[in-house]
């Protein structure tokens, strides 16, 4: 019987002995009935105390692997059933069908890249770190905890911390939405809102209509729910409701998902006329609308338009917003304003999903909003983000020979940028990452094959200096990818039209 131990390991020696003998037994090297060496002999041969071996044998006995009798020594009881190699486990068959065929975790990869210090990231919709009110927030929070005490660490209702629901009802009134606290559901970030809505409306095979392009996280939620996703093109006035009309008649979707204001990723604002048309269509076909509104506070110019929820007279709009874009994404708090019957179903689904959003963040946000700090913070960040947007637009125009096309958005977080023909996105992404800049490939924002070759550039996160440097790197990468693409010929270009 050969055993090796590592004296430098932090693992106690008796455990190492147990592990070694165990694996010898389970591999069949030590058959049933095999006598283990007497404790003293093994202790001497390994140069350890006898008590170490005593403890190891005792544990092996406890594990049911050996038996000890005075006078007969310690013998292997039986070899456990042969254990198949982990690699042999047919995981793909065990996973749920929609999960087994899910797409790559692109958001996780981009979040991971964003953590690298040498990389300038235009990929994720992150708020600017320098603008976080860190100098005062620590003491503010400590005081709140001292004041509130235990409830802040205890459970709170699934629907949300009641004062926060009241405060949010007042907050959305400024957007023309009439709501009571009981109409508000607090969720663990608006990604959860998407997931919960998918849970209560979508059975596998049901149709969901989205804008095209749209928010990548929504596509992910709907896909895992097993939905059939149909995209409606977006132009500078938002979703093409004329196309929607024929789709509604033909497909009878369960849900329409839209980001009408500073759409992610296109930056488009749905016109008032289209908003009315969308509501009219939804009401004619009885299809609920999920209105996702993370960005409307971040308006850099122009007059605000009423939200769909504010215009809705038929209780068909489920309104959703979040603190993640205008304030602190790391707290993971979003909210929905929905009709009572929907709220009840969502709350039941949420209870099964995670009981409730963490109490700590809810208390903190409630106080922060009520004290007026949220409103002050939004004013401060809007000024900074407008400058960053202008800085990025100017930097992108520095080399007009490349032929990039984009519109300057009136609000939100992103510039949606059409690449010149001949640039292949995967090559561009790799090339850009090598130069220390990352962005979101536009194809991730489409439910099917994208008709256009676009990228999404976030301008809120990087400083103005880094925007200059990052865009310069990006333009170099485009120039190079373009030459490379031209040499390769037109094969790499995605052109299949989608209606």
């Amino acid at each position: 019987m050969e055993i090796s131990i590592d004296r430098d390991s932090s693992e106690p020696i008796f455990r190492q002995v147990v592990r070694e003998i165990r694996s010898l037994i389970s591999s069949g090297s030590l058959p049933e009935g095999f006598r283990l060496p007497p404790e003293r002999r093994l202790a001497d041969s390994l140069g350890v105390n006898r008590s170490t071996i005593f403890n190891a044998y005792r544990e092996l006995k406890g594990l049911g692997l050996v038996d000890a009798h005075v006078g007969r020594g310690t013998a292997v009881l039986r070899a456990p059933a042969p254990i198949p190699n982990a690699i042999g486990v047919p995981w793909r068959q065990l996973f749920r069908q929609s999960v087994a065929r899910s797409h790559d975790p692109i958001i996780a990869d981009l979040l991971a890249l964003t953590e690298r210090e040498d990389v300038i990231s235009f990929s994720i919709g992150l708020p600017a770190p320098e603008l976080l009110p860190l100098d005062t927030l620590g003491e503010y929070t400590a005081e709140l905890i001292r004041e509130v005490g235990a409830p802040l660490l205890l459970h709170c209702p699934t629907e949300g911390h009641s004062p926060l629901r009241e405060t949010l009802a007042q907050w959305v009134a400024a957007r023309g939405i009439r709501a009571r606290g009981s109409d508000v559901l607090v969720v663990s970030g608006s990604q959860q809102g998407l997931d919960l809505v998918a849970r209560i409306f979508i059975d596998p095979g049901d149709v969901v209509v989205v804008e095209e392009p749209t928010y990548i996280g929504a596509l992910q939620s709907f896909r895992v729910a097993g939905a059939k996703i149909i995209g409606i093109p977006v132009d500078e006035d938002g979703m093409r409701t004329d196309i929607l009309a024929s789709i509604l008649e033909r497909e009878r979707p369960k849900l329409i998902y839209t980001l009408p204001t500073y759409q992610n990723p296109s930056g488009a604002v749905m016109s008032l006329e289209r908003r009315r048309h969308l509501l009219e269509l939804a009401s004619r076909w009885h299809v609920p609308i999920l209105e996702d509104d993370p960005y409307s506070e971040l308006r850099y110019e122009g007059e605000p338009l009423p939200s769909l929820k504010a215009l809705d007279e038929n209780d068909l709009v489920l309104y959703q917003s979040t603190f993640s874009k205008a304030l602190f994404p790391g707290l993971r708090i979003g909210y929905l304003v929905v009709p009572p019957v929907v709220l009840r179903q969502l709350a039941l689904a949420k209870q099964g999903a995670d009981l409730h959003a963490n109490s700590f963040s809810q208390y903190l946000l409630e106080r922060f909003v009520r004290d007026g700090h949220f409103a002050t913070h939004i004013e401060k960040t809007k000024i900074a983000y407008r400058r960053r947007r202008d800085r990025m637009a100017a930097a992108l125009q520095r080399d007009e020979t490349i032929g990039l096309e984009f519109a300057v958005p009136a609000g939100g977080f992103y510039i949606w940028c059409r690449l010149p023909d001949g640039v292949e996105q995967s090559a561009l992404l790799a090339n850009a990452a090598a130069r220390g800049v990352v962005f979101l490939p536009g194809r991730a924002c489409y439910p099917t094959e994208p008709p256009e070759n676009c990228v999404r550039l976030n301008f809120s996160h990087a400083s103005e200096e880094n925007i200059d440097v990052g865009i310069e790197r990006f333009l170099e990468a485009v120039r190079e990818a373009r030459v490379w693409g031209r040499m390769k010929g037109p094969d790499g270009i995605a052109t299949s039209p989608v209606v």
Partner: protein
């Protein structure tokens, strides 16, 4: 989605929020033991020193520092060697259950579970419309022969769900042998095991037993843990420990569910572990809960009729009561609420229903004299109902 039902516990908890009610219904930690003062200091320091990370988006897998601390703790508590890559931070262990359903369960798949089993798991899995099959269970855990016969005769078994340590609701702890048997059977049949271990650290008598995961050589055991019982339920923090092949799928699904768990609460928990003594805190909790368990057992011994049996759990938060056949705990509850004492009828913990004569009592949430008083009230109710039956 038509199968979603209002949870029984939800309805009961509403009633028990009145202060004059002595509630054995919840599963709450003792609120006076929550480290609010320490948290105030930690929150101030975390926001001052590491504020950007605390308030920004973070990785779906969780904060590196917390994953590492949890991996180390598994090693020091259970000699379980897992790398940081095998740890995923989740928004409470309820989310871990939900993600498990989302990763594994298509409609009609089979989940093997104990009998009784944890209600929150039933409600999390039920959303995916599986079939629950209860495996006969005795005081030492699932009976291996019964488990084996179901594994070999049933076609679509996707998961085995177990709570081996001081189970909610029964308080039962699996024996060492049964743990090893489960790992072996799972490996032989290639079926993943969800080992839910929220109470493993709350051990009041003797030493804790190693988790099923420590016998797992096939990479099939998915171990769930949580800060809810040992630190704070309001932070909503738990973890999933699994083979990286499985964990990647959990990450993918979690991304669609909530992107990631709150960065601020993750850092608070990590700093609590770094700067305070979590193990000493748990020892304090155990001392208090042991006293409360003993108070409840003493009151039950003194007051309850002899034909009522109950478990004597060595840990956890609950004990399990069996009334004489023919009695109905649901009806008993109606009378109990009139006497201002509450519990959870046991029926809810059996996916297949039945067992109307069982109920669950929590002993962690209130001081010993309230426990004694509550059991006295319960006894009065029993006496009056017993007379009626």
């Amino acid at each position: 989605m038509k199968d979603l039902r209002a949870s029984d516990i939800r309805e009961i908890l509403k009633v028990t929020q009145q202060p004059e009610v002595i509630s054995f219904a919840g599963g709450l930690p003792a609120s006076e033991l929550l480290p609010a003062a320490e948290m105030a200091e930690l929150a101030r320091d975390v926001l001052a020193d590491d504020g950007v990370r605390a308030l920004q988006y973070g990785p779906t897998e969780g904060m590196q520092v917390l994953r590492e601390l949890i991996a180390n703790r598994l090693q020091s508590l259970w000699a379980l060697r897992r790398s940081t890559d095998e740890v995923l931070i989740v928004s409470g262990s309820q989310q871990a259950l939900d993600l498990s359903g989302k990763v594994f369960l298509d409609k009609g798949d089979i989940v093997l579970c104990e009998s009784p089993t944890y209600l929150g798991a039933i409600s999390a899995f039920r959303a995916y419309r599986p079939r629950f099959v209860e495996v006969p269970t005795d005081d030492d855990g699932m009976v291996p022969g019964e488990l084996e016969s179901r594994l070999s005769s049933l076609d679509r078994v996707k998961l085995i769900y177990v709570v081996p340590d001081f189970q909610n609701p029964s308080g039962r702890r699996w024996s060492l042998e049964r743990r090893r048997d489960l790992a072996e059977l799972a490996a032989r049949f290639g079926v993943p095991v969800i080992e839910d271990a929220p109470y493993a650290e709350l051990c009041y008598d003797g030493s804790p037993l190693p988790p099923v995961a420590s016998f797992d050589e096939a990479g099939l055991v998915i171990l769930l843990g949580t800060f809810s019982k040992i630190l704070s339920p309001g932070l909503r923090l738990g973890w999933v420990v699994a083979d990286s092949e499985i964990l990647q799928r959990y990450v993918l699904v979690k991304q669609g569910v909530d992107l990631h768990t709150s960065s601020l609460t993750q850092l608070l928990a990590a700093h609590f572990m770094l700067e305070n003594d979590l193990e000493a805190h748990i020892t304090r909790l155990c001392d208090v809960y042991r006293g409360r368990r003993d108070a409840m057992l003493a009151a039950l011994d003194e007051h309850f009729p002899k034909d009522v049996s109950f478990t004597r759990p060595a840990g956890g938060l609950f004990l399990w009561v069996e009334l004489p056949e023919g009695m109905n705990a649901r009806r008993l509850l109606e009378r109990a609420l009139e006497e201002r004492v509450a519990f959870v009828p046991g029926e809810s913990f059996f996916p297949g229903g039945g067992h109307e004569n069982t109920l669950r009592l929590n002993f962690s949430a209130m001081p010993e004299e309230r426990i004694t008083e509550g059991i006295r009230r319960l006894d009065r109710v029993l006496a009056s109902v017993g007379a009626a039956v």
